[in-house]
Amino acid sequence: MSWLGKIRRVGPMVEPAPAAPEVTLPPPTGITGSLQLRHVDAGSCNGCELEISGAFSPVYDAERFGARLVASPRHADALLATGVVTHNMYQPLLNTLHALPEPRIVIAVGDCACNGGVFTKGYGVVGPVGDVVPVDVEVPGCPPTPQEIITALRKVTGR
């Protein structure tokens, strides 16, 4: 049973939780600590995706603050959009938003999603996420660190 001993020796690996940020947006369903997220890559370079997967990894563990990634927008309270909106992803992004039950919020992660970033004048670009769907929370950074993403999520989950 050496693995049990190893677990005991190593102890918890997760980063200690920093102090909770001030809640800026009430949770969409009114229940704190329960934010189901559907992620849509609207045209990202995948930098933000790496950081999001880092944020939900065991080290940063966003789920302990009540945020969770889900597979279907039907299960979600919020849309987590990354990247500048390209022509190809314009309609799917709208379809996904409409598939979310109300009340819902939209969280834009990364500079591209917030203001277009380095791709602003690209030929295949519609614009930042805010031009296509109403954005409630913005997480700046290219890419934002997992800690920044978690802080933004905690402002919604209230934990």
Partner: protein, 667 residues
């Protein structure tokens, strides 16, 4: 069983919709009505024999030298009653079906004849009568299989069926001739002389009858006619063949091998169990991957007959191992499963017939969306599919439960054979039940629910009243098996009483409102389960209705298509894709022949113009066993052909030679 995404061969079947001429509508009513009437008489006769005791009838003048003799006992009675009940439903259904499909006069005449033949087989009291009735049944069914003989597939299936059924008959003929040489012509004489028959003769008769009756019951490896003849025959005929005719194979095994010759040695029961288990597992595997609705049902028949044979074998083995109480449970399971199979398979084949006549399609990959277009047929087929899946509220539940109980509770102790055979059988039956659910979910879910996958399914219309009436009768029978097997209890007890070597000497399971098993711990109540489920469903519906008042009004949003614009019917599960994981798991058994062809654009091999996927599932048993046999027979036939050179002189000399031999021998 060919499937292709881009180039799919459509099974050529009669198109939907009535053609305008209605010349034979009177004949259709007469034929169907007569079939139902004969069936009703059969049902009444069968029940009167089961409850009133045995009857004998001998008509000396009907057949030269031996006469025709009938010997009705509760065992034959229950088969007569089952055949009669199936015939009532099929007869009523056939009125509408024959009109809609414009049957010719010949099949209409043959249909009542076929039913009569089937009713005479269990009534036969002597070897001669039995063989005569058997041939009437086989011949009439062949004529009916060939109803739509203008299609190549039907002619090929008919030839296959004719050869297999006649080879089976030859095996039965030899076996019964050997038996009657040892014991006499009538079954009662054989029964009295049973003790004098030598073990060698017994073994020969057992092996030959197992081959002959096994091929009629669709047991492996002699099942190959079933998945060919059942889909190509008109659906009422498929229903009669699958729900009543295959029963005669089981009847033959019980009557000749287990009742007249029994109790046999240990290996008889073991052989039956092995054949039954292999048939059940193989049949259900093929049913799970089949894409043709009627072929799926045909393989499901092999599966269910396998289960019945397994239960028979278990009863024989347990009885000869000194466990008559458990043997009685196994025998009850066999009989109950046989009867419930008749009910749900009649319903399923009639439902498939309604679908076929409304859409012109049997291919599940092209069906779908029938729940909106044919609601009554959908509900009725659903009852049948539930029965076939062996779940609670389904017709097959009580019998499969009994079979499990008998296998689990077999007292083995020091008996190595039992200790090995029973757990393995439990595994086989469990695998069969699980895959059976998958096959039926596929048949119902892909075939009837979701959106139509072709124009034929889109244009479907509900079946006419007489077809629905026939199906409703079968559905009512299914419901009896599902929630009130108590009604079958007295019948099965009477049958069990005439089978002392199959557990009839012990007290059988009590099929009351609660099924109780004497001697083992086990009881269940399908009726109470059904009642509890209905109450639970009603409660949740009422609670949901009550809760709706406190919720905001519903919002209609577009369906979620993973970000794409709209859902199309091509995004749905098909029968092929539904069974694909299973096909992958059982790759070595099913041996699918998959062919993926990728066409690139001329400009670059990185751009794909189209992908053609084709998978073909041939019956592996057929490929392994039948092809070599057919090849060998063809090779031998080439030698024999040299003797037929067309010279009339040669033929005359053959005749003279034959005459000479006869004169010498008969001297």
């Amino acid at each position: 069983m060919t499937t292709a995404v881009l180039t799919s061969p459509i099974v050529p079947v009669p198109g939907p919709g009535p053609r305008t001429d209605g010349r034979l509508t009177g004949e259709a009513t007469l034929s169907g009505g007569l079939t139902a009437l004969i069936g009703a008489l059969g049902l009444a006769l069968g029940l009167s024999v089961v409850f009133g005791g045995a009857r004998h009838l001998r008509i000396g003048w009907l057949l030269p030298l031996v006469g025709v003799s009938f010997d009705l006992d509760p065992l034959g009675g229950v088969f007569i009653a089952a055949t009669g009940a199936v015939s009532i439903a099929v007869g009523i259904y056939a009125i509408g079906y024959a009109k809609r499909e414009h049957w010719a006069r010949f099949p209409m005449v043959t249909l009542p004849l076929f039913v009569t033949g089937m009713l005479l087989v269990p009534a036969a009291g002597s070897v001669t009568t039995f063989l005569l009735a058997w041939e009437l049944m086989a011949g009439a069914s062949l004529v009916l299989v060939l109803t739509e003989h203008r299609r190549d597939a039907v002619r090929s299936a008919g030839a296959f069926y004719a050869i297999m059924t006649q080879l089976g008959f030859v095996a039965i003929l030899i076996a019964l001739v050997v038996l009657s040489a040892a014991g006499g012509d009538t079954f009662s004489a054989i029964a009295t002389h049973a003790a004098d028959i030598t073990p060698g003769t017994r073994t020969a008769v057992f092996v030959l009858t197992l081959l002959g009756f096994g091929s009629k019951a669709g047991l492996l490896p002699l099942h190959a006619w079933l998945p060919r003849a059942h889909p190509e025959a008109p659906s009422p005929v498929s229903a009669l063949m699958s729900a009543a005719m295959v029963n005669m194979g089981i009847f033959g095994i019980i009557r000749i091998d287990l009742q007249l010759l029994g109790p046999g040695p240990h290996w008889w029961g073991l052989t039956l169990m092995i054949f039954g288990a292999i048939s059940a597992v193989f049949g259900v595997l093929q049913a799970s991957v089949a894409t043709d609705l009627k072929q799926l049902l045909a393989y499901s028949t092999t599966e269910n007959m396998g289960l019945v044979t397994l239960a028979l074998g278990a009863a024989a083995l347990l009885s000869s191992s000194g466990a008559p109480a458990v043997a009685a449970i196994a025998m009850t399971a066999a009989l109950l499963h046989l009867l419930s199979h008749s009910a749900f398979k009649t319903l399923a084949f009639l439902g498939a017939g309604s679908v076929l006549s409304a859409t012109g399609l049997r291919d599940l990959d092209k069906l779908g969306g029938l729940a909106r277009r044919m609601p009554a047929t959908t509900v009725l087929f659903g009852i049948g599919a539930l029965g076939a899946s062996g779940l609670p509220l389904g017709a097959g539940f009580a019998s499969e439960w009994l079979l499990f109980q008998s296998l689990i509770h077999s007292p083995h102790g020091a008996n190595t054979v039992l200790a090995l055979a029973m757990p393995l059988s439990v595994g086989a039956v469990a695998l069969t039940s699980g895959l059976g659910i998958l096959a039926m979910v596929k048949a119902f879910g892909v075939g009837f629910l979701a959106r139509p996958r072709s124009a034929g399914a889109e244009a479907a219309r509900e079946a006419p009243a007489s077809m629905l009436a026939g199906m409703t009768l079968a559905a009512a029978a299914c419901m009896v098996f599902a929630v009130a097997p108590v009604l079958l209890g007295p019948t099965l007890a009477h049958v069990l009483a005439v089978l002392p070597t199959l557990g009839g000497s012990a007290e059988g399971p009590r099929l009351g409102t609660i099924l109780r098993l004497p001697g083992v711990d086990g009881s269940i109540s399908p009726g109470v389960i059904a009642g509890a489920l209905i109450i639970a469903v009603l409660t949740s519906v009422i609670l949901a209705r009550w809760g709706v008042r406190h919720r905001p009004p519903a919002v209609v949003t577009p369906l979620w298509a993973c970000g794409a614009d709209a859902l199309s019917s091509r995004m749905q599960y098909t029968a092929t894709s539904f069974a694909e994981p299973l096909q992958r798991v059982f790759d070595d058994v099913l041996r699918p022949d998959t062919d993926v062809e990728v066409t690139h654009f001329a400009e670059s091999q990185y751009l794909i113009e189209k992908v053609t996927y084709q998978t073909r599932l041939d019956d592996p048993v057929e490929q392994r066993f039948y092809v070599p046999v057919v090849r060998a027979v063809t090779a031998w036939a080439q030698y024999v052909r040299r003797a037929h050179n067309g010279s009339i002189h040669l033929y005359l000399s053959y005749g003279a030679l034959g005459m000479l031999i006869v004169l010498l021998v008969a001297r």
